[in-house]
């Protein structure tokens, strides 16, 4: 902590000494940048056509309301829920009743036009994000796989729009320290360079009573270099972004109901992620060609005490290295207008190619309690039931053994899309179609070796070597259509749309420890001449593979933006929708096993409505959102229970937010204004299982921010969950035990922001 403070002092002094007398560009930092042109063709099209429900957040709001990550944005978007649990690897996103806790997400994430390939890399600190747009509803026609719930687009601050230095130092309770430095400069008229670095430490909020350690202590750091070249006269631009992110943390502070966090083995997460993306835009005659090339690397390692208790059942290490390359090209036609001027047409077309290679090592170590309870207990019970004396007990020579699994996945995706926009007077028709072809190959090797004895029989050290290996291919093609019609007036519009999307299929590697555990037990018993009559054996390819989840959305909505008299502005949107989900992918936990598995559950339906309102009057701003989702299973029978009619778990039925900001302006050279903000976010109820037997009730959190803006410095005080509301963010069942993660308690802190 002392070293951190010393570093902050040195940095602050250095920044102060190098500061120029440049006036900070206030307008650049204001929320009025919603009007700033978005250059990426698809995003620009979505902004202009207004047939998508969306939420915009600007840089000022990020600074003023302490919005540091996607999880902080969620309360501002109706029907969006990103619970904060587990670790930075966990980016479980729920929107309109759709969601996923593992593998593929329902929401895509783009940073400066580059799609982030792996959900594990979603949870990063937001540094100088100039604008964030969350588009709700399926965006698959333009953006492809894993956008059935929506798409989050982040645009970082460009040196073309702001030059100078921004730095901040913050400190909060639980020893939470945050340092950020960014410099923006022009090299001539055409070249802009932006460089940022950041570091964040927190001791976390939860203690593991087993050894009194900080169970969610975390350090993360990042750096970003963005270089842009622009010839605005000729409409040619190039942009290169290089971004690195590092996370090292303890994690998974799960506890049994009514008990504290209490586990004896390590739970941690380590991540290195790198994104390199190059984008260009150039005219070809009257047409425009844009392209993005990206390379992304992810290395992470998760360690988990998989029973989450102080007993020694089993531990998991999951280590992966992933490489991803992609190329996207988007071709935009000019707007062709009829001679009468009443009809116009333009279109977007594009192709995309991506390849992902993932190598994963995921050994599960069975420890003494796990061996006794999960392997020997079943085996010895079977022997007694068969009529043998109890004295003939099986024992393992090993006190612990490893089920070692290695996976290699190759994934190739090729797609093409086209969207036409036909305008007739105030009406617009949008028709689009995308075809995605995906081919994946999953190579698995899993094995274990144990030695067993049978008491009183003279049988000792008999080896049982169980192994599984194979190759599973998966190929599918998806057609993703979209149809939308809108009626547009200068200050309002109404629209209706029908769109499809899909969440990619894949392979459930987390089930392998369960598969091999069953096979090992069967192999051991068979070696003894005893065979289980009803085995829990699996046909690997059928159980491991899951197919794409498809979603069809019907949506009607309206946007409005009115200036009422002078000084009053009101803007917002209303939406109503129906989602039909086919082959829904649901995470389930095997009843007497470890890990998780994905199944195509059947069908579900979600009906809902959303409202967002932003009202400003002189120095007062009021923002409010509300989302309602009624998401239920149409049919889902897992072979043991029928869940038809039950609520889809983990998706909240209501989301709401209300924020009030009042700004006192001072006619002073040094002190400019004082902004007081209070806001509340609410969510719930959330059912924790398909049987709807447990739920988190509706709850609300109260937050506040005070910003005193001066010439070069802003002083900030902030607080979150000021009423210290107790709530749970996650629940699951493992080995017939119920586990929860609690929500974060009250947080408060201060920050100094410098703009030069």
């Amino acid at each position: 902590m002392r070293r951190f403070l010393l570093v902050c002092l040195i940095v602050s002094a250095t920044v102060a000494m190098s500061a120029t007398a440049t006036e900070p560009l206030e307008s650049t930092l204001n929320d009025t940048i919603e009007q700033i042109e978005v250059t990426e063709a698809r995003l620009s099209s979505m902004q202009q056509n207004r047939t998508v429900s969306s939420t915009f957040t600007g840089l000022r709001r990020f600074d003023d309301e302490h919005l540091d990550a996607a999880k902080d944005l969620a309360p501002l978007v109706p029907n969006l829920h990103i619970p904060d649990y587990g670790s930075r690897m966990t980016s479980s996103i729920y929107v309109r009743g759709l969601g996923a806790r593992m593998d593929n997400p329902v929401v895509g994430m783009y940073i400066d036009g580059i799609g982030i390939a792996n959900k594990n890399a979603f949870d990063i600190d937001f540094i100088d994000i100039r604008r964030a747009d969350f588009y709700r509803g399926p965006q698959g026609t333009l953006f492809g796989r894993n956008t059935i719930g929506g798409m989050l687009s982040l645009r970082s601050l460009s040196a073309f729009d702001y030059q100078g230095t921004r730095a901040s130092v913050g400190y909060a309770n639980h020893n939470d320290a945050d340092l950020r430095i960014a410099h923006y400069a022009l090299a001539g008229d055409r070249v802009a360079i932006a460089a940022t670095v950041n570091y964040h430490h927190t001791d976390g909020f939860f203690r593991n009573v087993y050894d009194n350690s900080l169970t969610d202590r975390a350090d993360n750091a990042g750096a970003r270099l963005k270089t842009e070249w622009s010839d605005r006269e000729n409409s040619v631009s190039y942009s290169n972004m290089l971004s690195y992110n590092f996370v090292k943390q303890n994690g998974f502070p799960y506890h049994q109901v009514g008990m504290p966090v209490d586990h004896n083995d390590e739970c941690s997460y380590l991540r290195h992620s790198l994104i390199e993306g190059f984008s260009f835009s150039m005219p070809i005659g009257q047409y425009t060609l844009q392209g993005t090339t990206s390379y992304q690397m992810l290395y992470d390692r998760m360690l988990m005490d998989q029973d989450y208790t102080r007993l020694s059942y089993f531990t998991l290490m999951q280590q992966q290295q992933e490489h991803f390359v992609s190329q996207e090209l988007v071709f935009t036609t000019p707007t062709l207008t009829s001679t009468s001027g009443k009809t116009a047409w333009h279109s977007l077309s594009g192709i995309a190619l991506s390849y992902k290679y993932n190598a994963m090592h995921a050994p599960v170590t069975f420890l003494s309690d796990g061996i006794d309870s999960l392997i020997l207990k079943n085996a010895n019970q079977g022997i007694v039931k068969a009529g043998f004396p109890e004295a003939l007990k099986i024992e393992l020579e090993e006190e612990q053994f490893v089920i070692d699994s290695r996976f290699r996945t190759h994934n190739l995706n090729v797609s093409a899309f086209h969207t036409s926009y036909l305008q007739w007077q105030r009406w617009q028709l949008e028709v689009g179609l995308r075809i995605d072809v995906e081919h994946a190959r999953f190579n698995y090797v899993s094995d274990a070796l144990i030695h067993y004895n049978i008491d009183y029989s003279g049988i000792s050290r008999r080896p049982v070597n169980t192994s599984l290996n194979g190759l599973i291919p998966l190929t599918y093609a998806e057609l993703i259509p979209r149809l939308a019609v809108s009626y547009n007036r200068p200050t309002w519009n109404i629209y209706a749309s029908i769109a499809e999307g899909y969440k990619a299929g894949g392979f459930n590697n987390q089930l392998f420890s369960d598969i091999l555990q069953n096979r090992m037990m069967n192999d051991m018993m068979s070696d003894m001449g005893v065979h289980f009559a009803t085995t829990q054996d699996y046909k690997v390819s059928e159980v491991v593979t899951y197919m794409p989840e498809r979603c069809l959305t019907f949506e009607v909505g309206s946007h409005f933006n009115h200036a009422i008299e002078s000084n009053h502005t009101i803007k917002g949107g209303l939406t109503a929708y129906e989602l039909e989900v086919f082959n829904q992918q649901l995470t389930t936990f095997p009843e007497h096993g470890t890990g998780r598995m994905m199944t195509n559950a059947g069908r579900s339906r979600s009906l809902g409505a959303e409202a967002a309102l932003d009202y400003t009057f002189r120095h007062l701003r009021v923002s409010t959102t509300y989302g309602f989702t009624h998401a239920t299973f149409v049919n889902y029978n897992n072979g043991k229970q029928d869940f038809a009619g039950n609520f889809v778990p983990y998706a909240p039925q209501h989301t709401a937010s209300l924020g009030l900001t009042y700004t006192f302006s001072f006619d002073h050279d040094i002190v400019h204004n004082l902004a007081l903000n209070v806001n509340s976010n609410a969510v719930g109820p959330i059912y924790w299982d398909e049987a709807n037997s447990l739920k988190q009730n509706f709850y609300a959190l109260l937050n506040a921010n005070i910003n005193l803006r001066m010439k070069y410095v802003t002083l900030q005080l902030w607080g979150k969950n000021l009423t210290n509301t107790r709530y749970d963010v996650f629940h699951f069942v493992s080995m017939s035990r119920h586990f929860l993660q609690s929500g974060k308690p009250i947080q408060f802190g201060g920050k100094i922001l410098l703009n030069f």
């Binding site: 039931k385 049978i454 029989s457 070696d527 005893v530 065979h531 009559a533």
Partner: protein, 159 residues
Amino acid sequence: MKVKLLLLLSLTLFFMFTSCEQPYEKEQSVHEGNFKGNVTVINGDGEGIDYVRNDVEAELTLNTERQGTCNVLLKKVSFSSKMPVTIDMTIAYIDIDQDGNLSGDSIVPWAGLFGEYPKYTIRNLKGKVSYDSEGSPLTLDIDMKCGEYPTKYIGTYIK
């Protein structure tokens, strides 16, 4: 004298060759083989309901320790639908003659590596290996009382 020595030598040689404990040489026999068939336990499920276990493989091997006997290994066999596991059960030291007739009584079978399985002591075993005209085995039929229940095995030669 020479004749007596020669006679003595011959007798000595004769006794040498006949009195040595020669190991029982397992003759190449058509009686051995693997069969696949059904086990039927009369009233095995109670209330007059027979229990039938299909696709039970039986391995018949000549016993090298005791001439004139054989072992029958029933693989993955069960004797009631209530039995939660199947077992590999060996019935050893069954008498067998040159015509393939089997007989035995009060034989305690072995279950896997767990040793004797008194619960299923074999009584009044009668059986037959049938052959074709060339002496190759065709079928294996066994009638016995396995524990408390009359039990039949009928299998067809597979290898």
